[in-house]
Every structure is written in structure tokens, then in C-alpha cells.
């Protein structure tokens, strides 16, 4: 592994990684001061696709902002939408029918699997293995087809409504979801044999950029990054929301703190999400998907409200400051990757550029979510 080296400042050069660089998965720039192959200093530069969602939130009414959330993290969009509808429902005291909550949880977990599959796949692609991504895309495609049949969109969903859902799931969806579970378990086995046990992959990832739990705390890292460093934190368990308390699932925690652990957390989470979907399909109650008296105009009383949800990237928080009007007074979106990537500058110093980029990939970033 890379040893800390004595850095001679006059022998360094600046390497501009990005904004258009294959490893940054979008437009994100890292200014690296290199000492040969070693990273001596890194500075992440954001904002290339900043769209000011928060100002849009202030200018639009509550229902009009629904579709913006899925434009944040387009891979695991439903969890973000979930957070948004939850905070507005909490603020205006809307009761959600149980069936709607169950369907939300099932679709969020399906979307989480899709996001993790793509996250892991593109991570492996960063390491040079292209075929695993293609295999994972096949499973992801199955989920997207399933969600498309229900929500009408493949990535940028606008499915949840304040109080419930846009439309109900049908038997075809349930049958396909049930068929998906054994299929995904089967392919997970394949991925473990193809990737997890592969010697090249293991050699690259084991010990690759260690993150201590203290560092995760200081930077506010959550999600898979924190769980790989031995922090047992999952908003679904620690701060249960929606109907998650009724599900029986585990939070995978690894203590190694390296990229291998971050990868393993994702793979283990796919299994846990499958368990949640299985239970959700079994328990799915009948009933309406919208409350009988859904308010036409959303006007939460003045005050401020906070809701955290666990997305595929970590803890997504949404702070709503309402002044009692049709528009939010302030809508703050706390995106998990923003905190997760902020520790990159410090953590990657002293490692080789290949390791730094592998570490970068293991953070599972989606740039529109960081830039908002």
C-alpha cells in the first residue's frame, strides 16, 4: 500500500481532474496537486450543474415542486421524493393511508436496489471492469421497467403526492416484483463470484483509503460511507419514519473503513432491500391510496419542520420553513453526497491517483445531487 511520502513542494504539479473526466461521473472537478503518482493536495470544485433547487422551491407552490426532487439524485429519486412528501404531510398534518405508505416503501426500496446496482456497477467500471456494469444494468432495467409501468417514468419520477400516490399498483407489478426477488438473489451470487472474490478487485480495494469513524462524524458522512467505517447509522432504523418500524431488516455495518467495505455495504444493502420488498408485498394492506379529504391547496402552518430519510446515498434531510402561504418560505435540501464528498479532499492525500479515484468511485456520488 501507499506509504506516506516526503513531499517536495517544488516537485509537484497540478492535475486538473474534470470537469469532464470519466471518473467524476458527471461534471465535477478536482484540482489535484500531484507528486508523481501521489496526491499531495486535492481540492474539489463543485457547482457545474448547480440549478438552485432551493430558490425554485421558494418560487413554486408545494405541488409544483414535487418534480424537482427527482431531478436531484436521478438514480435513487424516489427516496428524495419520499422525504419531500413526508415533510409537507408532517407540516400540514395530512394523514397518509397505510396502503400508500406501503407502496411508497416498496417502490423506494426497489429504487434503492436500482441505485445501488448502478452505483456498484459504475464503481467497478471505474476500476476497469466493464462487463459487471452491464450485468447489473440488466437487473436494474427490470426494476425500471417495473417502476415505469406504475409511475410512467423511468428515472425522474413524479409518483408521490401529498397524502398518497399518483396511482395504485396493480397485480402485474406485484407479480413482477415477486419474480424479481429470487432473480436478484441469484444474480447477487454471480456478482459476488465475479467481483467480490476476484483477486484483482480485492487487491485494489482492500485498504484503499481508510476512513475513520471520527472523520465520518466530523464531516457528517452518512449512508454507506459511514456504515463502512463502523457507524451503525441508518435513518430507517435510528429514526424510523413511514412504516419502516414494521419491517424486519438489518443494517449492514463494516468496520474496515476501506473501499472494499463501502462496496460490501452496498451489496449487503441490496439483500436487505429485497427482504423489505418481500415483507412489504406480503403485508400490503388494501385500501385507498389517497386520503378521502386530500387538501387541494397545501398551506402548512407557519413554523419549521425537518424530515430525514435514508436514501441510497445516505441521510437526506429536508428543512421546510413555512410562513403559512402557498409557497415554502425556505426549503433546504440536505443532500447526503454533499457531506460525503466533502471528506474527499482530506482523505485522499497521500494515496496514489488510481487509489484516490477508486475511493472517489466508492463514495457513490451523483453530481446533480451534490450541486442541487
Amino acid at each position: 500500500m501507499s506509504e506516506p511520502i516526503h513531499l517536495l513542494p517544488d516537485e509537484t504539479f497540478v492535475l486538473n481532474v474534470g470537469p469532464q473526466h470519466p471518473a467524476t461521473h458527471g461534471v465535477l472537478r478536482i484540482k489535484m496537486r500531484m507528486h508523481g503518482e501521489y496526491v499531495a493536495e486535492a481540492e474539489t470544485v463543485l457547482g457545474y450543474i448547480h440549478r438552485m433547487h432551493e430558490k425554485m422551491g421558494e418560487l413554486k407552490t408545494y405541488p409544483q415542486f414535487l418534480m424537482n426532487l427527482s431531478r436531484m439524485d436521478y438514480l435513487g429519486a424516489l427516496a428524495y421524493c419520499h422525504g419531500h412528501v413526508l415533510v409537507v404531510e408532517k407540516a400540514s398534518g395530512i394523514q397518509v393511508p397505510e396502503r400508500a405508505e406501503y407502496i411508497r416503501v416498496i417502490t423506494v426500496e426497489l429504487n434503492r436496489i436500482a441505485s445501488h446496482l448502478f452505483g456498484v456497477g459504475s464503481f467497478v467500471m471505474d476500476l476497469g471492469g466493464f462487463s459487471p456494469l452491464m450485468y447489473m444494468l440488466q437487473d436494474r432495467e427490470y426494476i425500471l421497467d417495473m417502476l415505469e409501468a406504475v409511475t410512467g417514468a423511468r428515472l425522474t419520477y413524479c409518483y408521490y403526492r401529498f397524502g398518497g400516490l399518483y396511482n395504485d399498483i396493480d397485480d402485474t407489478f406485484i407479480a413482477r416484483a415477486r419474480a424479481f426477488i429470487p432473480r436478484c438473489r441469484e444474480s447477487l451470487k454471480k456478482y459476488h463470484r465475479l467481483i467480490t472474490e476476484n483477486i484483482i478487485f480485492r487487491k485494489r480495494l482492500e485498504g484503499n483509503v481508510y476512513l475513520s469513524s471520527e472523520m465520518c462524524r466530523k464531516y457528517g458522512a452518512t449512508g454507506g460511507v459511514a456504515r463502512a467505517s463502523g457507524i451503525n447509522f441508518d435513518v430507517r432504523k435510528n429514526e424510523p419514519y413511514s412504516v419502516y418500524p414494521e419491517f424486519n431488516f438489518e443494517v449492514p455495518v463494516f468496520t474496515e473503513g476501506d473501499s472494499m467495505a463501502r462496496y460490501k455495504v452496498k451489496m449487503a444493502e441490496i439483500e436487505q432491500s429485497l427482504r423489505i420488498i418481500e415483507q412489504g408485498l406480503d403485508k400490503l394492506p388494501d385500501g385507498p391510496i389517497m386520503p378521502e379529504k386530500a387538501p387541494k391547496i397545501i398551506k402548512p402552518p407557519a413554523g419549521d419542520y425537518y424530515q430525514a430519510v435514508e436514501t441510497s446515498k445516505g441521510s437526506f434531510g429536508i428543512r421546510l420553513v413555512s410562513d403559512g402561504s402557498k409557497n415554502p418560505y425556505r426549503l433546504k435540501l440536505r443532500s447526503p453526497s454533499y457531506s460525503n464528498v466533502s471528506l474527499f479532499d482530506e482523505a485522499c492525500v497521500g494515496s496514489m491517483i488510481m487509489d484516490a479515484m477508486a475511493f472517489f468511485g466508492s463514495l457513490d456520488l451523483v453530481v446533480p445531487e451534490i450541486d442541487r
Partner: protein, 146 residues
């Protein structure tokens, strides 16, 4: 010393396992759809851009309540109507959708109380000109009627 060789052998074995997997995949059938030559059928709930729904006469159901225009987050719907002589209600003369700004959220379809608009199943939309995406939905409806 044993560890040294063990590592080499387990490493080599994991490589052979990986190669056996890709070998199996090599002989599995192709799963992709060759898009321009074959297409998939869109799901019934697929949300394309909006379209005016004809009533039984093939005319529009729109009554110019402007609910969709107000509901649209991006302001991409423009509706114009005029009151013809001898008629009580306004008739629709222009329903323009600026698809360059539409985000397919469906707020307009939900806002409509008259079921006058619905999602189309169009997805083969590509053009090099921006103007091609200013859809005149009323014209589309009339073309459909013919």
C-alpha cells in the same frame, strides 16, 4: 512461504471463476433491443408529453379554465381562446405546449377537471431545431381527426 503460494493459487482460482462466468454469459442470448429497428411497447401509464383528448365528436373537451396553465411549474402551457358570436362559452384557438421546458410532471393532467388532456405515448422525439418542440396541441388534435 505457504501463504505466498496460497495467495497465488486462490488468486488464480478466483480469476478462473470470473472467466467461467463471462464464458457462460457469452453463450447466453442477447437481451438488448436494437432500437431503431425494433421498439418496445410503451407501458400504458407511460407519461409522454400531453395531448388533447377528443370527445366523441373529435373536438376538444377543453373549456379554457386555465387550471393546467396555472398548475404548470415551468409555465410551458399557453392557452388562447375567443368568444365566437352566438356561443356562450369561449372556444379554444391555441393550446401550445413548450416541450423544451416541460418536465413531464403531470401537474396539468391532474389539475384538469374535464379530462381534456392526457399523456401521449410519444417518445421518438428528436430534432435539431428548438422550434420543433413548440407543439400546437389543437392542431395535432385536428390532424388526428382527419
Amino acid at each position: 512461504m505457504i501463504g505466498y503460494f496460497q495467495e497465488i493459487f486462490t488468486g488464480l482460482w478466483s480469476l478462473f471463476v470470473g472467466m467461467s462466468i463471462s464464458f457462460k454469459e457469452f453463450f447466453s442470448p442477447v437481451v438488448t433491443v436494437e432500437y431503431p429497428y425494433e421498439t418496445v411497447t410503451m407501458a400504458p401509464r407511460f407519461r409522454g408529453h400531453i395531448d388533447l383528448v377528443p370527445d366523441e365528436n373529435g373536438a376538444t373537451k377543453c373549456v379554457l379554465c386555465m387550471a393546467c396553465e396555472r398548475a404548470c411549474p415551468s409555465g410551458c402551457i399557453t392557452i388562447e381562446g375567443e368568444k365566437k358570436e352566438g356561443e356562450k362559452k369561449k372556444t379554444l384557438t391555441l393550446y401550445q405546449l413548450d416541450f423544451t421546458r416541460c418536465s413531464l410532471c403531470g401537474c396539468c393532467v391532474e389539475a384538469c377537471n374535464f379530462e381534456a388532456i392526457d399523456f401521449s405515448k410519444e417518445y421518438n422525439l428528436a430534432s435539431t431545431r428548438k422550434e420543433d418542440f413548440y407543439f400546437d396541441l389543437l392542431k395535432r388534435l385536428q390532424e388526428k381527426r382527419q
